[in-house]
Symmetry: C2
């Protein structure tokens, strides 16, 4: 496109969207400007916005394969890329590898004009970037699918509208935070009978410096957009370092951002890509550069801890590993509980940071609307529910997606080493992609007696994150013990989510108190179409930022407030 965009046009165009987002984060009611249904895309809608149809998105993705992904960044030092889809196809896309001695200064040089543009213009440009991304949702869906291994529908929704929602949410928080201080103020202090003291004051939100986004393999856009847009909206250039196995979704994002920035009259180097050679470890190099003052990271605890310890010149926002627990005390909807849990454990083969891992079930069984159920019965009924859900290979593939990398595949294949298998994983054939690695979830039985998790001899598999389609049916001595184990697990390992099923108000209260004290997000008695592993932008917080799984939540004031500083210039009036 060649249209020049003025700031005023952009602000006018996107004011309703921004206002909608601001209202939604205030009320926490349901809201989204990004349609979830695949058929909502294609053609031109009533407001004149055109988007790629399913076929156009597929074609756009196909056209990218085997090409050089041109970004016209300063300081390109060769071309890199070896993405292979979890569905078995090679993408063959080559990306520019940056010469950071050239790229970083170019990014810094772009800062003053972007700072001077102010919060409103920055927000409008960010919303325009998201709108252009939204229009290419079908293209992004394939890019996310073939890097993360998500099934197509999930890749479209989580990688498209849901990720865009999370990006917009960050823009709204960033805008609101910067607008809390006025641009100027008159200050007049009475001095009794003398003239008042008078000052004219100006306040400017200033960026911290280059913001580094270190992308992840499983949710490159969903986990990447909050940090990217929070930093950009607060005036910082963003250098995007994607996971080497999931470059394309973020490369497309960078491309759109650069296009919009240019058209709006800003330096496109405010957003740049840092692709790397295999095993280059570029994130480590970039993270300690003095120009890098903000880092957003999603990934392993080991590297997150390394960043927090070593990238001391930067503010570091991390989402690391955690162990998610579901306390199963009792239920008045046994079938609903089983169906809900079966879906949660199966979705994207359990490869979500929010997937439950440990199901804590009293050894003596639980009370349900279908009568008392023993521990063994609950476990076998859950196994049956999963079997039923995934009985048909086509349907199973649409829910499971594909295994994202060989480590996860190894883990599920070796799960029987961890204990007695209550539900074995099986291989599923994907009818469209014979090369896809697809596995159903496995459930391992475990003993939750206190000695196994508390004290000198504690050494049990379920206390560590076992990322992928492996969960543990942990037999606990009582529900109070389950709540103690829940607390212990959150404190030691962190948790992105906690679930609980109970008909007892006492147990509900104890579980809530545990989550309030240990700082974890709790879903109670989900038996319908909402799952513990799903959160909705503008309403639900993703992570708490208060336990070891993540030092930030998506999204709140703390996620944006320190990405900029306020400089005051005051003059005698």
């Amino acid at each position: 496109m060649t249209t020049e965009l003025t700031a005023v046009q952009l602000i006018d165009k996107h004011r309703p969207t921004l206002d909608g987002a601001l209202e939604a984060i205030r009320t926490r009611a349901y809201w989204s400007p990004h349609p979830e249904h695949p058929k909502a895309y294609g053609g031109t809608d009533e407001s004149g916005r055109s988007s790629l149809s399913a076929g156009e998105g597929q074609a756009a993705f196909d056209a990218l394969r085997g090409t050089r992904f041109e970004l016209d960044q300063p300081g390109t030092d060769g071309w890199v890329g070896d993405e292979v889809s979890p569905y078995g196809i090679e993408l063959g896309v080559l990306y520019p590898r940056p010469d950071i001695e050239v790229l970083l200064p170019a990014m810094r040089a772009a800062m003053p004009a972007w700072r001077d543009a102010g919060p409103q213009t920055r927000a409008a440009v960010c919303v325009e970037i998201l709108a252009r991304i939204s229009a290419r949702t079908h293209e992004f869906a394939h890019a996310v699918m073939h890097t993360s291994g998500q099934a197509f529908m999930m890749a479209l929704q989580a990688g498209g509208p849901h990720a865009q929602d999370r990006g917009l949410e960050a823009v709204a928080y960033a805008y609101q935070e910067q607008m809390r201080t006025p641009q100027s103020a008159s200050w007049s202090k009475p001095q009794g009978k003398r003239d008042p003291l008078q000052l004219a004051k100006e306040f400017t939100a200033v960026p911290r410096g280059i913001s580094l986004l270190i992308g992840c393999n499983t949710f490159p856009t969903w986990n990447g957009y909050p940090g990217l847009f929070a930093s950009l909206a607060t005036g910082n250039p963003v250098l995007v370092k994607p996971h080497p196995r999931a470059v394309l979704p973020l490369a497309l994002t960078v491309q759109v951002a650069r296009e919009v920035l240019s058209e709006a009259g800003f330096d496109p180097n405010l957003v740049a890509l840092a692709a790397e050679r295999t095993d280059e470890g570029l994130a480590k190099t970039l993270a300690v550069r003095p120009e890098v003052r903000l880092i957003d990271y999603t990934g392993s605890t080991a590297f997150g801890d390394w960043l927090e310890a070593n990238a001391r010149q930067a503010l570091v926002f991390t989402e690391k590993a955690g162990v998610n627990t579901v306390v199963i005390d009792s239920t008045d909807n046994y079938q609903g509980m089983l169906s809900n849990l079966a879906f949660s454990l199966s979705l994207y083969s359990g490869q979500m940071c929010t997937t439950p891992q440990n199901l804590l079930i009293p050894r003596a069984g639980i009370a349900t609307d279908a009568g008392a159920k023993s521990y063994d019965q609950v476990v076998s009924d859950l196994a049956a529910a999963i079997d039923g859900l995934l009985g048909d290979d086509t349907r199973a593939s649409a829910l499971l997606g594909a295994i994202v990398n060989p480590q996860v595949k190894d883990r599920v294949e070796k799960a029987s080493d961890l204990g007695q298998v209550a539900l074995a994983s099986r291989t599923v054939a994907n009818p469209d992609f014979p090369g896809a690695t697809v596995r159903t979830p496995t459930i391992v039985k475990a003993d939750g007696a206190r000695k196994f998790w508390d004290g000198p001899d504690a050494d049990t598999a379920y206390l560590s994150e076992c990322f992928g389609p492996v969960s543990f049916a942990v037999a606990v001595d009582s529900t109070p013990d389950a709540i103690e184990l829940l607390r212990h697990t959150i404190r030691q390992q962190g948790a992105m989510t906690v679930g609980a099923y109970t008909t007892s108000t006492d147990v509900e209260r104890l579980t809530e108190e545990a989550c309030l004290e240990e700082c974890a997000q709790l879903s109670l008695n989900l038996t319908g179409g909402v799952y513990v592993n799903q959160t909705a932008a503008f309403s639900d917080f993703h992570g708490s930022g208060g336990n070891p799984a993540a030092n930030a939540a998506l999204c709140d004031g703390a996620f944006v407030a320190n990405r900029f500083r306020t400089v005051e210039v005051r003059r005698q009036a």
Copy 2:
């Protein structure tokens, strides 16, 4: 007092004050509920609020001397204290030294009820604490004077109403931040022809853990209240570890806080004192305790850096050393400039973190409304202005206060080692306190040629903080060079304040750009009754949080947003 306070009463009583503060931080206009004039205190005002008069405050302070300061804290392990006033008198007050193995658990046990009270009640309790402190302003004035060495009027104003303003400002930010998310929400997501998905959500602001306040010698209340009240208002217990030479003002604060908390039905252990034996190094012990999750610190760069590197379990807010610069390019009010600078350099003997240190003056002189002035002339005129301001010992004492500690005294006495002395420091006799150590400021000439501050041979005294009444008249080759040196100094050493005098719009623009890019607060052309080293709560930011002098600003969203987290509990509706 024995009155029981209900939350509703407190909220009603303090709603106007809180609303006033919220409005002030939004508009940044002048506002304060705390009178500055000493005569505003005493008796009972029209709203029924009684306060200590000057005489009563003096008597209350006198009565404290030579006593045990009882706080009724759990876990007292002996009594400590050896404060000696910079005015030469021994305070002789003994404080409880904590057994932290008893005190810390007691503080943690107080958290759930304080969390459950909610942001509004917490804010009201905090405002009540501030109101009680305000009523004892005259007593606090003596306590601050005889620990910091501030002159009485400054101790009363900066240690009283201005500190209370900064505390209230933090309460307002904390309240507002917690209220951005509603307590509950109904969420209903349309599902086309099917029933909508519906959830009932509850959101609770939860504390991080014990907050440690490490107080400073020079401004125990002013620098201490923001962190104390920000943490308390967001639900965290606060352990106050005062500077061993400035315990009394914070011990009084803890006493008032515990009294109000008890009367309002909360556990007084939400605020506790940690006094220590001389050279015990208790801050280091406390800072790495796992229960301590927040730290507020004002003091040396060395210990601030140690905290940031070692107290990794906590969020650390630091104000450290910096080097403050004034660029002197030109002026249309030469006398006003000289008077303003003379006052700034003299106030509290230059012992403010905001006092200018380096005055950058072009070697070729400057243009003024009184004609061209050579570098030497500017320096000698400034020296004369200081001499004039401090010519009378009584008046000088009222402005200078006393030298806070022997290190500052040594520094000013050895200033001639640093270069040619343009204004020598002299000893002033304090008529009321013969034991007071009082010194006037000294000005040392220095060469600001680039080779002395930039490059391999750079090694000049003015590039380091020289805390106390020592400033440098730095001869620079040009105003652009001055701005380069300003940038260099902020980047390397940090700065709490920057001043500039110029009649040139170009120089003004360049100086502003330097401050925006290096992130420092700028005061332009101050020639009247506002000084570069003074900031007003609710309007001015103290520090920027974006250069090495401090990682936080007083006060903004970033100062409070991460002191609590939000836990969500969602249920199927």
